[in-house]
């Protein structure tokens, strides 16, 4: 177990030397691909995602039922065969991928001003180059940056991160600490949830949990998550402003 092998019991340091409230190294770039309307490259530790946005544009499937009053957000996630430790070719139609696609699509549908683009589609294509924990969170962050690069109007950034708990490790649950931003090894062993917030009022857009945790622990995890999302939002904001400065100075 990752926490056993680390010095967590003695010094409260995780395997990679972080404390419970520290995020991994986050790095992001915008406008990485000239051929797309908007694109971004986002790294959260060793999880690397490339995102491209096409749209708003005419819907590709002309089914005739074009009575939508709002833009439709389509999400496609492609996990590369070389992204994990073992080479595994994931098909695009498996249930886990479809669920992630739906989660991201509905999260952005509530934030993006879709009513300004009736009869159109916004396509978000995500390529996972390397995964090491926080997959859904990194996908959401990358999509936020790419949508901003494409100039799609949104209410605010959606910033996401993961939180977990040492509950299964600690013998006594009162000692269980919430942890911020779990890496791949920790996600396999510990219960964790993914949270995405938008807006300064801490509006939670995304909350996904697939593991089990006792109710008293949940509150601590959520509050740590909210704080973590705020930190991520500041980082995303920094990336966007940096990019904007570069654009303006190059004119």
């Amino acid at each position: 177990m990752p926490l056993d092998s680390s010095t967590y019991a003695l010094a409260h340091l995780r395997v990679d030397g972080r404390r419970w409230k520290e995020l991994r190294r986050i790095h992001g770039q915008m406008s990485t691909q000239a051929a797309a309307d908007g694109s971004s490259y986002f790294e959260m530790g060793n999880t690397k995602i490339i995102c491209t946005v096409l749209g708003p544009r005419q819907p590709t499937k002309s089914g005739g039922r074009d009575q939508s009053r709002e833009a439709i957000i389509e999400v496609e996630i492609g996990v590369a065969g070389f992204s994990g430790m073992d080479r595994k070719k994931r098909s695009r139609n498996d249930k886990r991928t479809q669920e992630m696609q739906y989660t991201i699509s509905s999260a952005f549908a509530s934030t993006v001003f879709t009513s300004q683009y009736p009869h159109s589609t916004i396509t978000i294509v995500l390529h996972v180059l390397s995964q090491d924990g926080a997959l859904l969170a990194a996908c959401i962050n990358a999509a936020t940056l790419a949508l901003i690069d494409a100039g799609v109007p949104m209410q605010d950034y959606i910033a996401a991160c993961t939180t977990g708990s040492t509950a299964s490790y600690a013998s006594n649950d009162e000692d269980a600490d919430p942890l911020l931003d779990l890496n791949g090894m920790e996600e396999l062993e510990l219960p964790f949830l993914t949270m995405g917030t938008s807006g300064g009022e801490d509006k939670v857009n995304v909350l996904v949990m697939e593991t089990r945790i006792q109710m008293p622990r949940l509150e601590a995890m959520v509050s740590v998550g909210l704080d973590g999302c705020k930190q991520v939002r500041n980082i995303l904001d920094g990336i966007v402003r940096e990019h904007g400065k570069k654009l303006l100075s190059s004119r």
Binding site: T32, Q33, A35, K48, I50, E76, G78, A80, F82, R87
Partner: protein, 345 residues
């Protein structure tokens, strides 16, 4: 079905492009010379969890990422009855098998069994397996071997045939691929050194110059318009090509030049374009000819005044010239390899 039926160019534009490319010297829409390549950005070793990786961005925005992963696999028994030598004597002569290299291509918007990914994967696999050296390096012993998975991701919509892009990215990724160092002896279960610094390159480097001894092949797309031969065609130029050929070349270890290892003709999308209407046949201008007369008129015109999709194939002399231009000393192939040499990780 041909991959591209949606060429957004009218017969007049196609005729204009064709005429300008058929001049001597050819006038390309972006002003390049016939052998000039568009600028590209390349980087290697970008993925920590893959044995080798590379990413290339072309100037028109198309981007590709290639990741190479290797897994140890047990060698199956080969079929057949006749064994020329006894098993004990086959030391040092183990040959690789074609099935140990697995190339898969993912292009957004196409399924795995569409024509484009199939043809691209087949061409790239053929080129890599052509001289048999790569297969030989995947052998660990008589019982075990490496299985190499090359996953190619095209990150943008395919604007034109992405073959050279994918081939160059694969070339760089394979050059940067490292395999862990073998500790165990000949026929034991393989055991490798945990230290990644001790790993060996799949294409081993010369000890003095740190240059690779041999390199994987590169595939170039060459097109012809009339008697002109053009390299690195853009999507507009491909739409009016008379013929398109994909040529794979690799360095010849014997005389230091290049040799061709695979060649394939590609169906030019110009055959699917619609022909223009000659003035006399234009019914809106008061023509009013019957179908038979229109046909006769178009056949007589034979593409002289209006655009007509090309018919027939490519002449042998032109093919010979194309091959020569790629592999000759100081030719385009050497230029491309020279350019790739400067890519740092």
């Amino acid at each position: 079905m041909a991959p591209y039926t949606n060429i957004p160019l009218s017969p007049a534009e196609l005729s204009y492009l064709h005429t300008s490319l058929a001049q001597d010297p050819p006038i390309r829409p972006d002003g390049r010379s016939p052998t000039q390549f568009r600028p590209l950005v390349a980087e290697t070793d970008i993925l920590p969890s893959a044995n080798g990786s590379a990413r290339i961005c072309f100037a028109d925005g198309t981007e590709a990422v290639v990741g190479v992963k290797a897994e140890v696999e047990r060698t199956g028994r080969k079929g057949g009855l006749v064994r020329g030598k006894e098993d004990g004597e086959v030391e040092g002569e183990e040959r690789g098998e074609d099935g140990w290299l697995d190339v898969s291509i993912e292009i957004p918007g196409t399924r795995d069994d569409d024509a484009l990914p199939v043809f691209l994967a087949a061409m790239l696999t053929e080129a890599l397996l052509a001289d048999g050296e790569l297969k030989g390096r995947l052998v660990i012993g008589r019982v075990w071997h490496w299985r190499l998975f090359v996953d190619i991701l095209l990150l943008s919509q395919p604007l034109s045939y992405p073959l050279p892009l994918l081939s160059l990215t694969t070339h760089l990724a394979l050059l940067s691929t490292r395999l862990p160092a073998l500790i165990s002896q000949k026929d034991e279960d393989p055991l490798f050194n945990d230290d990644w610094e001790a790993s060996t390159h799949l294409f081993p480097r010369q000890p003095t110059t740190n240059e690779p001894e041999t390199k994987p092949p590169i595939t170039l797309l060459v097109m012809t318009v009339g008697t002109n031969i053009l390299f690195d065609p853009s999507s507009d130029e491909i739409a009016v090509a008379d013929a398109i050929v994909a040529i794979s070349a690799t360095e010849d270890s014997k005389d230091g030049g290049l040799k061709m290892v695979a060649l394939r003709t590609v169906d030019p999308p110009s055959r699917l374009t619609s022909a223009g209407v000659p003035t006399q046949a234009n019914t809106t201008a008061g023509g009013g000819l019957s179908a038979e007369e229109t046909l006769k008129l178009r056949e007589k015109d034979a593409g002289a005044t209006v655009w007509r999709p090309p018919r027939g194939g490519v002449s042998r002399t032109v093919l010979g010239r194309m091959i020569k231009k790629v592999v000759e000393k100081g030719g385009v192939g050497e230029e491309v390899l020279e350019g790739l040499r400067g890519v740092k990780s």
